[in-house]
Amino acid sequence: MPFENKAEGDWTVVKVTDMRLDAAQAEPFRKHVLTEIDAGQSQFVIDLESVIFMDSSGLGALVACLKQLGGQGEVRLAGAGGAVKDLFELTSMDKLFKMFDNVEAALAGDGA
């Protein structure tokens, strides 16, 4: 499984263990999180520390989760670095997601 779930209080931390969140992994990722949302979960931290490459489909999958929540929940992104951070900057993802340096900061809700 390229994604690992961990419950932290009300939050579900989803760790992407693959190095790439691209066309091949975006759909499984989207399904994975949407299943959690259907099961009633609404607060997510996506741990992207291991991801070194993301493309437009990976970006689409993250936003799909946000759209599925429809404002009734939150998705925080943690640990984006390098090319992933560049992509987030280019696409102004900070307007859609709160970004944190790591999972701890995301759970604490401060920093960014």
């Binding site: 066309a23 989207r30 949407l34 437009s56 489909s57 970006l59 689409g60 999958a61 936003v63 799909a64 989760c65 946000l66 759209k67 599925q68 900057e89 280019l90 696409t91 102004s92 993802m93 307007k95 859609l96």
Partner: protein, 399 residues
């Protein structure tokens, strides 16, 4: 079903023929392997063979080897007649490519069931062949359709040329036959032009269809629901829409759903060709490069923004750029800077900037050609992983 017999002994041949005819087969008889092979080559509908083992000119095992060779284009089921009971002969026959064996002296019942098994396999093979043929035809049809759609896409692209003192050059290369990239430019009135370059997420047919639609919407400057130019009740009876409103209108028109995340990035600009002022919106798209003629400086333009169609209610901010005569703008898709060389290294914005600085003094057409060549050289062959598009503009007002 037709069965071919290869048997050199006349009495055996006649007996075999009579037995098979009685069992309802249409029988063709030959006297050795060579003759049998020739009949098989001339009659592609024959797929079932009963052959003797030892024959002059070409024996049974050799006939098997011939029909199993690459030169033979179909599956033929071969039953060898054998008087041998020993293991070695059995293995030798199988190695030569025989499917089954019938022992001599012939037993009508044994022959009947073994042929029935053979006919079953042949029937299966024929159905597979037929299905493969149909698949091949369908694929050919699909590819022909795709090529046609690819030509349609190419026909939407404007010709290189000059609008109100703005010279345009471009490069467009879908990664497959069809791409999700698009660009365009046009006059809005006597002193305004607009231009854009966009990249729909994903590749192939869905992205291309979406890019066709966007092209259509961004070409509409006269319709009542044009996003770019709207009618007003007072002179000059039209209003050129600010670049951010155009992109915001597209965003509200095309919202992706969580189940179907298709969206696009775009750089869209409106230029006053008298003053050289460009209003540029960049939505998730790579920063367009401004190339200053006088200084050779390369400046990344655009104020950033979320890709279009991702989230409702996003506002966009225009970057206001004062062009100077001879200045250029380069709009490009991420396929350019993310294209990898054979070692896996990406081309990068930095390399693109350095290249543009080095060709800033050259004619626009030459700068375009050099840029295209650099991309080919980088990728190492003619095949690109992603759609690649760039649009170059140079402003040279009449003075």
């Amino acid at each position: 079903m037709r069965v071919l017999i290869a048997e050199d002994a006349k009495d055996q041949r006649l007996l075999l023929k009579a037995l098979l005819k009685k069992q309802g087969y249409d029988v063709v008889d030959t006297e050795n392997g060579a003759e049998a092979l020739q009949v098989l080559q001339e009659n592609p509908d024959i797929r079932l063979v009963v052959s003797d083992w030892i024959m002059p000119e070409m024996d049974g095992p050799e006939l098997c080897r011939k029909v199993r060779s690459d030169a033979f284009d179909r599956y033929v089921y071969v039953i060898l007649l054998t008087g041998h009971e020993d293991q070695d002969a059995f293995i030798q026959g199988l190695e030569a490519g025989a499917d089954d064996f019938v022992h001599k002296p012939l037993n009508a019942d044994e022959l009947r069931v073994r042929l029935k098994a053979g006919a079953r396999v042949v029937g299966l093979e024929q159905r597979l062949d037929e299905r493969n043929r149909q698949l091949g035809e369908n694929l050919e049809q699909l590819e022909a359709d795709l090529r046609l759609a690819g030509q349609t896409q190419m026909s939407l692209l404007p010709e290189a040329g000059c609008l109100q003192g703005v010279t345009m050059e471009w490069f467009f290369q879908p990664s497959r036959i069809l791409g999700g990239d698009m660009f365009g430019y046009q006059e809005l009135d006597e002193q305004h032009i607009c231009f854009y370059q966009l990249d729909v997420s994903g590749h192939g047919i869905p992205s291309a269809l979406f890019s066709f639609l966007l092209h259509h919407m961004l070409s509409d400057t006269a319709g009542s629901d044009s996003l770019i130019k709207q009618a007003t009740s007072h002179p000059p009876y039209y209003q050129i829409m600010p670049a951010p409103s155009v992109v915001e209108a597209l965003n509200s028109r095309f919202q992706a759903s969580p189940d179907h995340m298709i969206y696009f990035t775009i750089a869209f600009g409106v230029m006053n060709t008298q003053t050289g002022i460009v209003e540029l919106v960049q939505a998730g798209h790579p920063h367009p490069l401004l190339i200053r003629k006088a200084t050779g400086d390369i400046i990344r333009t655009g104020k950033g923004g979320v890709p279009v169609g991702m989230i409702e209610g996003i506002t966009y901010e225009a970057d206001c750029i004062q062009m100077q005569p001879g200045d250029r703008l380069l709009l490009y898709s991420d396929g350019l800077i993310e294209s990898s060389n054979p070692e896996g290294e990406q081309y990068s914005v930095e390399k693109l900037e350095a290249l543009q600085a080095s060709v800033a003094g050259k004619e626009l057409k030459e700068a375009r050609d050099i840029t295209e060549q650099a991309l080919h050289d980088w990728c190492g062959d003619d095949r690109f992983d992603d759609d690649m598009t760039f649009l170059m503009l140079e402003w040279q007002p009449d003075s």
